[in-house]
């Protein structure tokens, strides 16, 4: 008798525990959308943290695997590059405003980012992936640029094919279609050069969109690269401008060493420009504030270079290159053809800092909210239909005992959901399928037991003895059989990715719970029924 009392206590204890853990989930899922919005956000967050979590494939959201490209870093830098990148990405994501993002390191150079409930995947990818290296570089003008362009022309002209000889293959593309007049200026013929009408000095270079690939090829030619002085480099503008119906990219020759970098920026804000300058007024801009050190450098540089242009370079593309009109120090602005959203995102990225190395997105899985909702609906329907089918079958085939098994099944599912909520586990779509599968597997234990009991009854044993024997003989088989499924679940957990892990967890907990409900609980009920009502014939 004492054994039975202990057993009852344990069962009631687990039932109470399950009720405690499952209550927040039931409460959360029964809230309507209005009630949800009306709730105090702190309370809602707490309720959500204690409830069952939905995976990305059920809630919608984005899963990214990023790889940090350490190829251009020194071994020193490479060591903590990934950790630094992780911090910066976390910063950016925090400012993006996603509830419960997951940002983790994976292996030696990968970062996993999960953004549940994300509404705008494009923007998130752009925000996360930008290297965001901000640099301020002085633009070279005038004779220096002229001289370099000349040198390039001469070098290319030297390699030009003479009319009668075979054209060298490497420059075919350059000279094809060039009128003879320009053949001694093969490079500059691709450019449109603007000079200051007063001084005649070269001010800016523009390249028509269709000529850009050719210019790129020239500039990447090794002989030409050698001609560019070591303290200079060519940079493209980040966007095209339209002149007389054609699109042009501006090309800048800048001083390679930056005067100021993103490290000198203390804060950045998106704003709408004011004033009269058409490039600024009423357009979204990014206003930034430098650090004290940055302010010192900035004022030195601007003070010494009034009249020259300072290129604002973002990720090696020139955003804008305004002329320095006065000495600047702490505050200034970045203009470009931004939309308000782009200005906002640029400000976020400047505030969070530049990534130490470029990152590549090597895996992306995005589930839209509509598919997530659909999957939940379908999963629910499947679970309900499956459940009803099995319940009816058990009741019909095993009669009263079948009903007991059905009760065990219900409690099994309750325990399963409670455990998932309690462990803070995530329910994924395969996990939902796992729940449906558990419905089929959980009754197996009871089938084994009941078949044994039927056998025992057939050999003429008493009801009580038949039941006891049935349970004890079936127990070892159930244990063995379920253990193999658990081994599989373990393997799946170790080798699987997110959704599969969810399946493995659901399967494992479901099987463990099923052993408790199918064996311990049903036996308790049988014992209770037999002793209380002195049953001589068992409905099985």
């Amino acid at each position: 008798m004492r054994g039975i009392r202990w057993r009852t206590v344990i069962i009631l204890f687990f039932l109470a525990l399950a009720g405690w853990y499952i209550y927040p989930t039931i409460k959360l899922f029964s809230l309507s959308t209005q009630e949800r919005r009306a709730m105090d956000p702190a309370k809602l967050a707490e309720l959500e943290s204690r409830s069952l979590r939905l995976g990305l494939d059920l809630m919608g959201g984005m899963h990214l695997v990023l790889e940090v490209d350490k190829s251009k870093l020194t071994p020193e830098e490479a060591k903590d590059a990934v950790d630094r990148a992780l911090e910066i990405i976390r910063n950016r994501v925090d400012q993006f405003g996603v509830a419960e993002p997951v940002i983790q390191k994976q292996g030696r150079s990968r970062i996993i980012v999960q953004l549940p409930g994300l509404q705008d995947p494009e923007r998130a990818k752009a925000l996360i992936g930008r290297t965001a290296q901000l640099e301020f570089k002085l633009v070279k003008e005038g004779e220096e640029v002229d001289a370099l362009l000349n040198e390039i022309d001469v070098a290319l002209a030297r390699r030009m094919p003479r009319a009668k000889e075979q054209a060298p293959e490497d420059l075919d593309w350059l000279f094809a279609g060039v009128p003879p007049l320009f053949q001694h200026r093969p490079f500059t013929s691709l450019l449109r050069i603007y000079e200051d009408p007063r001084t005649g000095k070269l001010v800016s270079i523009r390249v028509a969109e269709e000529n850009r690939p050719k210019v790129d090829r020239v500039l990447s030619d090794p002989e030409i690269r050698a001609l560019i002085p070591p303290d200079a480099e060519f940079l493209w503008a980040s966007e095209t401008e339209v002149y007389q119906g054609k699109r042009y990219y501006s090309l800048y020759l800048v001083r390679k060493t930056p005067e100021l970098t993103g490290a000198h920026i203390a804060d950045a804000r998106p704003e709408i420009g004011s004033g009269y300058d058409p490039e600024i007024a009423n357009k979204p801009i990014v206003a930034f504030t430098t650090t004290d050190e940055g302010a010192r450098i900035f004022s030195l540089v601007t003070g010494a270079n009034i009249g020259r242009r300072l290129a604002i370079v973002l990720d090696n593309k020139v955003c804008s290159a305004p002329v320095i009109r006065t000495k600047l120090s702490k505050n200034s602005i970045i203009t470009g053809n931004f939309t308000m959203e782009e200005a906002r995102d640029l400000a976020i990225v400047l505030r969070a800092g530049a990534l130490p190395a470029p990152i590549k997105i090597v895996e992306e899985r995005t589930v839209g909210p509509s598919l997530g909702r659909d999957s939940i609906e379908k999963g629910k329907v499947a679970a309900v239909i499956g459940f009803i089918a099995v319940v009816v079958f058990m009741a019909v085939y095993y009669r009263f005992s079948g009903l007991i098994a059905d009760l065990a099944l219900v409690l099994n599912l309750v325990f399963l959901v409670a455990a998932l909520a309690g462990f803070g586990a995530t329910l994924t779509l395969p996990g939902l399928a796992g729940i449906v599968l558990i419905v089929g597997l959980a009754v197996d234990a009871n089938v084994l037991i009941f078949e044994r009991i039927r056998e025992e009854l057939r050999t003429g044993k008493t009801v009580r003895l038949a039941i006891d024997n049935g349970y004890s003989r079936a127990f070892r088989t159930i244990l063995d059989a379920n253990l193999t499924t658990l081994i599989t679940a373990l393997v799946l957990y170790k080798f699987g990715t997110g959704p599969i892990k969810g399946f493995a967890v659901t399967l494992s907990i479901g099987i463990l719970a099923s052993m408790f409900t199918a064996i311990v609980m049903t036996k308790a009920i049988f014992d209770f029924v037999i002793t209380r009502w002195r049953v001589t014939r068992l409905s099985i």
Binding site: D57, V65, Q119, P121, K125, P213, K360, I361, V362, E363, E364, R365, T366, V367, G368, P369, S370, L371, D374, S375, K378, G379, A382, G386, A389, V390, F393, Y397, L429, P430, A433, V436, L437, G440, L441, V443, D444, V447, L448, E451, E455, T477, D480, A481, N482, L483, T484, T485, I487, T488, L490, V491, L492, F495, G496, T497, P499, I500, F503, L507
Partner: protein, 318 residues
């Protein structure tokens, strides 16, 4: 209600037929795999891009193909019209699958832009309803996932072998492993016949089948072990095994039935996303049950016959 009690089918006697059927199924599966040049791996394993889009007004796949004939990727223009483009579930849902390209550009995003500009008034007003699902898998990751999957299957099989070797005698382990290989091969074969895409979820289902089939096999083995002790007087091993199968037949059939019912419901009503998963489980449940009766047990009997023949031969020589 009872059925299948006190049956006395001669499963062991029919084992040659069962053996032929199994071989036949395996060969058909292997032929299908050969014809299709291997399993139909999803982007999870070979890399690539998957886009599932929901249009407000259905767009015929031909028009989508035409729209993707010239797509600008960075500074190249490629023809994506021959990619896999199909309706998925309903006429409004389109699934596009593109093989992986060696380019840094986000191909999926470019395709979306292209389709947005090609069919601007057929996209749902709330653009978030347009994108159902998007997946991009780089080549390296695809290769890694493939490796992971293979390791997982091997580790699982090894784990099973060790477990049964520990709980039962060695020959039981061998019989069980033979049955498991049989199950995996036939399931893969049927999946290939149906040209089902092998994704991560399908591999997970395969592993689940490994566990489930073993579950089934162990129940029969347990009975055999019990009967070997109880029916010690019976000299014919095959008779004992037969009896054991018959004894556990009703349990085997009922459990398979309940498992099959739930998986069938998943297959019919679970939606397109877990379609492959549910299909694999369905095939696995059927094959797993078949193998516990017609593969694992006959192997045991054959083993025993060979062992006895050897013992007899050795006995005679002395």
């Amino acid at each position: 209600m009872k059925f299948l009690t006190n049956t006395d089918f001669d499963f062991i006697g029919r084992r040659k037929t069962a053996f032929l059927i199994s071989i036949g199924l395996i060969i058909i599966g292997l032929v299908s795999l050969a014809v299709h040049k291997g399993p139909n791996f999803s982007i999870d394993f070979v890399g690539g891009i998957l886009l599932e889009l929901h249009f407000e007004l259905a767009v015929p796949t031909e028009e989508i193909r035409a729209a993707l004939r010239e797509v600008k990727l960075g500074d190249r223009v490629v023809d994506l019209s021959r990619s896999e483009i199909q309706e998925f579930g309903s006429a409004n849902d389109i699934l596009i699958r593109v093989e992986r390209m060696s380019t840094e550009v986000a191909v999926a995003d470019v395709i979306k832009e292209r389709l947005k500009s090609a069919f601007p008034n057929r996209i749902p007003k709330d653009e978030r309803q347009w994108l159902r699902r998007q997946e991009s898998v780089g080549p390296k990751i695809g290769g890694e996932l493939k490796q992971s999957a293979i390791y997982a299957i091997l580790v699982a099989l090894l784990g099973m072998l060790i477990y049964i070797g520990w709980r039962f005698k060695f020959r039981f382990a061998v019989a069980a492993i033979v049955a498991l290989f049989h199950d995996v091969l036939i399931t893969l074969g049927v999946l290939s016949l149906l040209n089902q895409e092998i994704s991560l979820a399908v591999v997970a289902a395969l592993l689940t089948i490994v566990g489930y089939s073993l579950n089934d096999t162990i129940v029969v083995f347990d009975r055999i072990r019990e009967n070997l002790r109880a029916l010690r007087k019976e000299r014919n091993y095959g008779v004992i095994v037969n009896r054991s199968i018959n004894d556990s037949l009703s349990r085997t059939v009922i459990t398979s039935l309940t498992s099959f019912i739930v998986v069938l419901v998943l297959f019919l009503r679970g939606g397109e996303v877990i379609h492959g998963f549910a299909l694999t489980l369905m095939i696995g449940v059927l094959v797993g049950t078949y193998s516990s009766i017609f593969v694992a047990s006959p192997v045991l009997v054959e083993w025993q016959k060979r062992a006895e023949a050897k013992r007899l031969a050795r006995g005679r020589r002395i």
